[in-house]
């Protein structure tokens, strides 16, 4: 039986939006294509996304995102539906179904919540539907305060134990790849990412392949990460977080 390989794809504001705050339709379409292609290659994929506040801001005709917390929450509630509409539209174009999953950061701390959320995610993956996950800003303000979805990404990682997390970099069109059991930050091009996908499908060890294939690779030390902050901040958590993920009891399913 073919082993399934689970990826969390982390989509940040600048993955989807231009500098002027407008949603980039070509960027989003390209992203949908890349992700669907990875799915077609055999990966199980989950997306953790930001963008609701940006779209809510545009919808309400505000010159820039609000700074007041309560207004941000409301704007997120307005924009989230739009965000999903665009995801749906672009993934539909590649014949890939997506679903909306809104969770709060404490989801993994409450056993019932955790089981429910996990069940939903696994069930969607089994149905070949890509879950698109965002923070439920109406009832929680954690990410909204930080303006960052990396903690949520780690919560999702705790729920489903991915083999790797991918972040699309905007600067040079590379992907940052953090692989479980492999304290290594890989920056790979789109081509390499797909080559890796095919090798995984053929049953090769992804960690070795990444070591071999990545364009640049950085052995991870916390010091280096801090020097490269903020974009490598995720890895501090990955180093600290993944072993914990692997050793604690996540066997219930």
């Amino acid at each position: 039986m073919q082993k399934s390989y689970t990826l969390i794809f982390r989509v940040e504001i600048d993955t989807l939006f231009e500098g002027d705050g407008k949603l980039s339709l070509p960027k989003m379409e390209h992203l949908a294509m890349i992700i669907t292609n990875l799915r077609n290659a055999g990966f199980r994929i989950l997306i953790v996304t930001s963008g609701a506040i940006m779209l809510g801001t545009a919808k309400m005709g505000l010159p820039e995102p609000p700074t007041e917390l309560i207004t941000k929450q409301a704007i997120a509630a307005i924009g989230q539906a739009d965000l999903m509409k665009y995801y749906q539209m672009f993934f539909d174009g590649f014949d890939q179904m997506v679903a909306q999953v809104l969770i709060t950061r404490d989801v993994a701390d409450n056993p019932v919540r955790k089981k429910n959320a996990r069940n939903t995610l696994i069930n969607l993956l089994e149905k070949d539907i890509i879950p698109i996950i965002n923070e439920n800003d109406s009832v929680s303000t954690d990410d909204i305060i930080l303006n960052d979805n990396y903690p949520l990404t780690l919560v999702v990682a705790r729920l489903i134990r991915p083999n790797a997390i991918v972040v699309k970099k905007q600067k040079d069109d590379k992907f940052m790849l953090v692989v479980r059991n492999n304290p290594l930050l890989a920056e790979v091009s789109e081509d390499i990412l797909f080559q890796l996908a095919h090798k995984i499908k053929a049953g090769k060890d992804i960690a070795k392949e990444i070591n071999f294939n990545c364009v640049t690779r950085k052995p991870i030390s916390e010091q280096q990460i801090i020097e490269n902050a903020p974009e490598y901040r995720l890895n501090i958590e990955m180093i600290n977080g993944f072993p914990e993920i692997l050793t604690t009891s996540y066997q219930e399913s």
Partner: protein, 266 residues
């Protein structure tokens, strides 16, 4: 006699409207777009006239099933959750489209029952809803089925709608259903069964008759509606149960035309 109470309904300012799956879809599970459009039109109009309208809507699972092309309703809770995640975004897309045609903005708010129990959740939810109302946006609320399975298992959002009504200090909760109101007995069995037009207090006799009235359509029968009304009673929020086949009835209700069952606390 009941006119005295109905005359006060036009003065209500914050109104929560709850629609169940049976109102939004055909018996075969497919969406009734005409009805949803009418709902969007009437809610937008009422909002335009100065009210603050809030919609609590089920329907995500039905839409998700349709999208996957399922022939029958899923029975497993985990399947229902996945279908809800699939269908909720689609449902919002439809609401957005139909409301925006009326120049009315909507927002999606997904809540769980713990907005009642956890103060921080409660505060956040209440803040979000308050901000949306002040921005003249209609919140479209559903249960967050990903993390909670209450609605799926129990009450088709009846309880949620009552909790929301309390959260926003609503004046009125209207529950649109596939029956005309609360009956005195099972209308299918008893030819003398009549709609009770006015209720001032929920007592054990009433709860017993609801239990025996056989109104167990959808996930939520009359029992969950009575307990929703009970929640509203604690804050003096008026409740109306009526048939949602023609959503235009909301306009008549808010003009003070007696319809269905009115819970007016004394």
């Amino acid at each position: 006699m009941q006119d005295k109470y109905w005359k006060q309904i036009p003065q209500t300012k914050i109104v929560v409207v709850k629609v169940g799956t049976s109102t939004l879809s055909y018996p075969n599970g497919k969406l009734n777009f005409q009805r949803i459009e009418k709902l969007a039109i009437v809610l937008s109009e009422l909002q335009l006239r100065g009210r603050k309208m809030i919609l609590v809507s089920s329907g995500a699972i039905a839409v998700g099933s349709g999208k996957l092309g399922l022939k029958s309703k899923p029975t497993e809770t985990a399947d229902k959750q996945a279908l809800a995640a699939l269908g909720q975004a689609e449902l919002m897309k439809i609401y957005q489209k139909l409301f925006e045609a009326q120049n009315q903005k909507v927002a999606q708010v997904l809540l769980t029952r713990d907005i009642v129990d956890i103060p921080e959740r409660r505060k956040n939810a209440s803040n979000t809803l308050g901000a949306l109302l002040s921005m003249n946006v209609i919140p479209v609320i559903n249960e967050n089925d990903t993390v909670a399975t209450d609605e799926i298992i129990f009450g088709d959002n009846d309880t949620l709608s009552a909790n929301v009504a309390c959260l926003v200090n609503a004046d009125l909760l209207v529950m649109l259903s596939d029956i005309d109101g609360l009956y005195s007995a099972d209308p299918g069995k008893d030819p003398n069964a009549k709609i009770i037009p006015l209720i001032h207090e929920i007592n054990s006799k009433l709860e017993k008759s609801a239990m025996g009235s056989g109104n167990s359509f959808g996930t939520g029968g009359m029992i969950t509606k009575i307990s929703a009304a009970k929640i509203c009673q604690t804050q003096g929020i008026k409740v109306i149960i009526t048939n949602g086949a023609n959503p235009g009835i909301l306009k008549q209700i808010l003009e003070g035309t007696p319809t269905g069952t009115l819970f007016f606390w004394e």
